[in-house]
Symmetry: D2
């Protein structure tokens, strides 16, 4: 039996790995050990631990290490405390592989702990290109990781160019697509509507009519402008005048300012038709992406899930700069008119055609099988 | 005036950056801010702060963050605490550039703090290839760094291949060579002998006769064997039967075991002609490398300074695996007979011819000039 | 010149020490160094740093050390990180005295740092008796402190009984009273009304009519019940049916649940006449205490400022258990009917007569003078 | 079954609690959970974990939190990290009681973690009086502790005077005495001599002849003088000219300087008849105390075990100031002549008469029984 430790640091992380967790749990040779940390343990971002347990998983350990403040300084400090905590957890657990996801700041904590402690590191969603500090973090994690599970062919190629051994690079597709495929196949939007009506605050949304979906996060390298940045998007949506579902931002540096921008807009536009959610179940979010006239903001979901679903997306600013996109993406900068025009364009479209650049929905199974078979050399060496 | 923060985490770091510090201090547009941490603040590794002050530099801040234990676990934890401490220091200092050196585990702490806090990171000695966790650390730092100062042409090329913008890669040579050049030009071995006789414990060395020099450090990925590993080297030297100068290892994970191996050997071989030093002044060490019949172990000094000086070197094991070497290096594995034969071969040679693969001794001046002129984009982006 | 470092960890701390800061700043032999930390640096609790600067003080250093979570576990961890951060700050600052306030959990961090580093600790508000973990914290701080500034005669006596040298115990009164005296003398309620109307959310309050004031905080040793506890108070107020001003709780363990209880009540009682504030200026709060028909909850302000002002107070539960109270206090347990009856009783009263048990408003001046003159023996010794 | 977590932070801690561990382990209603930390996990102070396992105990968790440096600054920081680590351990373990020992700086970490997390704290060796920061620490711990196990009647009385509820104060005697009684009854000095000869460095001691025993630790509040302080003691012993067994100091702030003083003395006095030990088994130390002509230094063992054994002791300086002593103690200040004269006086004495001021050797059994029966109110309240 191989012990696979999986670090989950946010709700988004959970959606990005859920199908893998299912397959590890099912696999006869693998033992799943979930470590929850960062915003994933905080009630204010939704009680993810309860959702995870409800989904049938056990949680090995919850660790608290986010320093309050939501600035670049506290992002750095939180990562430091995370490293102190993760190393203790890994020292007790002694996993055979440490599996981690993507490129958020706290992800580095677990990767450093494992790599320094001679535990093989497996990494999903490496090799992609984006803006913000995530761009540096992602490639640095690749340089610490022993096993790579890129989600797209361009990402796989980039990992190879970064000097990683191609024997350890596995193009498996994005595990988020597994979830999308499963949800659209096995559940219906009608079952979700009740949940959506019960939660959230603000206007009442008529889900039988057209609606927009907004999911915009702060960009760490521009974070002091977050309040102004979101204001432009909200003004543009206001002019479009279609009922809109708004998702609150992630707890990155800058989210406090961005949230403030949303709150202010709401107070000054009492009659606007918007409903605000702290988070959704993955099922609800997938159905919303499937039904919305347009997803607006800078969430990576537009690019990944959006490609597979065919959601029309207006992608704003630099946050996803460089990621591989399908035709469903219309990108624009932080200018109110440009945003307005882009939304206008996308809502005239209906759904786009499915694209498989982020896989066909079998990533979880592939990853579990590879983990059960692979043997890695703990001593890494650049290939050139 | 640009504020240049320089993090120094060990005596070796200081030797690797001293010529740069001198040039930054001299430069009219640069303000030098030295941050001392990790083993550089510990009396037991020699009072580096006093040496630095004696050399005419001011120390901006000393930080203590090494957790006792010298295991992979405490290496990880120390880095976490280092990140907490470094972020506070950088928050107060607000430097224009954060300059860091090489690839030791604690180096990551400063790099993460700076990168997360949107402070441009400059890095010396990137792009090289070696064994141990340092291999991963070095390339990960490259992925966080904005300005690169590689020491050799192969390293520069590797940094470019890692997807870094060639505009920000500057082949300046190794600053350690600056020091070597200066010491051999301006000081004589005779002045050093007094210092060497006064310090250290063990046998009395006759510096007019042939002597060997041993500098062997633990390899983090094999660290539980450190005691056995050093024993083989010591046995081989014992059979060679030439008086030997032994430098205690760095305080890495595993150094406790390696040190124990040395102590045990010493107790069991009372009559061996060895003298033990915790550390040398850089001047003394350079002269020793210039005079020794053979440098034995796995120190990077054999490869860098050794190339420029022409020192015969027996390089043992995997620690320097992949580094570019000149003809002075004879590599062998951890086998007593192999070590013995390699030393035998090298002591029959006299000095090798000077090689300039690590530069000609002008790195410090070049780095200071580049730092004074460069403007970087804080948002990094991989080139492919 | 003596350097006096003052740690401020919350808005409440600031009110409790402001008059002392003014007098230290004025004193020719004292140099004021303010260290802000814990919730005092967080925007979400109001930008205290801006208020402090507006009041004419400089801030020496802001430190971030609260771990998100608001549970006993994160309270402990936050104190640990606080100790790491405080020790670095004190190491740079090297104050002659470290002055700290009261008994909140993070206060211990600064006290330990100073005491361990041989810096004399001065402490205000020691020697009092209360419920929650504060009770243990307060007396433990007394055992680390070198100079004691109790606010009341019973507290001074208790400090003496705890084995402290009476030469270092100074009954100066409570510095909060200095502020009350000054505010009531030099400002009017009318000037405050504008601020009160502009801020807060909820119903519009008519400040010319009777109003209640609610300030209830979680009790750490009962913290999982916080939601139920606040519900009883809110129900009782609801039955009284007088417009009410509600202050959100401190960010202690349990505040998340207590806040949730308030939010739920608000949603279920849309028509209730309540207005909700995250915080007040000290001036506003003092005037509210002076005008309200009754202050309800478990805030220490009812006991201290309330005594001097003569505010009718209903003090609920164990949080203030054991504090010395004047006749203005009516205490009751967490029973809805008892709370209802107690409020009924108090609103029939008008103001109570002024009591000087917490001083007459000259604490700041006394403390500054004592600090400028005192010499302490850093080695403490119990008196029996 | 009640889970009793016991924190052990040093070898001295282990000797102070071993008899209690035995009795908890034996008790049908108690489950022993040992947490090792601070110097107790460091190989360089002897592999305590192996000794503990050999003695038949399981170790629940080892935590590393000592920051290298051995200064007041790192003492404070280490306690902070200790608090971060201990809170995670207690969060996983959820013990019914947290049992802690004495007054070393790191002890505070566990006590704060437990008290903040609403876990009842039991404390041995409280209520005593001494010098250094330990004096403050000990009484502060008393103010956090729920159950008190003082070792002597004066200590019990002092705890009561500190405002603790007498129902929770149990005069059980010192558990170290249990060990002494057991060792002297069941083992002989001859069995120990082999171990003593095999270990240590320096001169060979003839254990059939008179010998002195030196155990001197740094005093935190005077720590920068440690090198000078130990020199005086060593000079005095040198003049006495009896073979001496020297125990290296604890890893407190200042121990680096004190150790340096010993090393220098040794180098300058090659012919001195001294043997140096990093540590002893408890058995060996007890027999040495039983056989020595005089124990010199400032170790608490002279006062506790010394009372029961009747060892002649010269107690130097302020470290034990205020502890209750039996007639075997001769105290003197840090003056070479005074030390010399005091040793002269004591070596003319033979053993003193047994004193029971620290108990008769039944503390372990009493503590285990009390822990199995006691119910405590987690909310503490001072008695006056």
């Amino acid at each position: 039996m191989k012990k696979i430790a999986v670090f989950i640091g946010s709700r988004a992380n959970y959606s990005s790995i859920k199908s893998v967790l299912i397959e590890i749990n099912r696999h006869p040779n693998l033992e799943l050990k979930i470590i929850l940390g960062a915003s994933a343990v905080l009630d204010k971002y939704g009680s993810l631990d309860k959702i995870i347990k409800k989904d049938g998983f056990k949680i090995y350990k919850k660790i608290f290490f986010l320093i309050e403040g939501e600035t670049p300084l506290t992002m750095a400090k939180s990562t430091g405390i995370g490293l102190v905590e993760m190393s203790s957890v890994l020292d007790s657990l002694k996993p055979d592989v440490f599996l981690t996801i993507g490129d958020r700041f706290e992800t580095v904590a677990g990767v450093l702990a494992a790599a320094y402690m001679n535990i093989p590191v497996a990494h999903t969603m490496g090799g992609e290109v984006s803006g913000t500090i995530d761009e540096s973090i992602r490639h640095a994690i690749t340089k610490f990781a022993h096993i790579h599970f890129p989600a797209s062919s361009d990402a796989a190629l980039r990992i190879k160019k970064l000097g990683e051994n191609k024997k350890n690079i596995f193009l498996v597709g994005c595990p988020r697509i597994d979830l999308v495929k499963n949800v659209l196949r096995n559940t219906s939007f009608n079952n979700i509507i009740h949940e959506l009506k019960k939660n959230g605050v603000g206007s009442i949304i008529d889900f039988n009519k057209d609606f927009l979906l907004l999911s915009q996060h702060p960009v760490t390298t521009e974070y002091s402008n977050s309040e102004q940045v979101i204001k432009k998007t909200l003004n543009a949506i206001n002019r479009i005048n279609i009922q809109t579902i708004v998702l609150w931002p992630n707890p990155d540096a800058g989210s406090a300012l961005l949230s403030k921008g949303i709150r202010k807009f709401r107070e000054n536009n009492i009659n606007i038709k918007m409903r605000f959610y702290k988070n959704f179940s993955p099922e609800a979010y997938i159905h919303l992406m499937n039904k919305t006239k347009c997803l607006i903001g800078n969430s990576s979901s537009g690019i990944r899930e959006g490609a597979f679903i065919g959601t029309p997306v207006v992608n704003i600013g630099t946050r996803q700069q460089g990621r591989r996109v399908a035709t469903n993406i219309l990108s624009c900068n932080n200018n109110e008119n440009n945003i307005y025009n882009a939304i206008k364009f996308q809502i005239l479209k209906n759904k786009y055609k499915k694209s498989y650049i982020y896989g066909k929905g079998e990533a979880g199974k592939k990853i579990a099988n590879i983990l059960s078979n692979i043997k890695v050399n703990i001593q890494k060496k650049i290939t050139y």
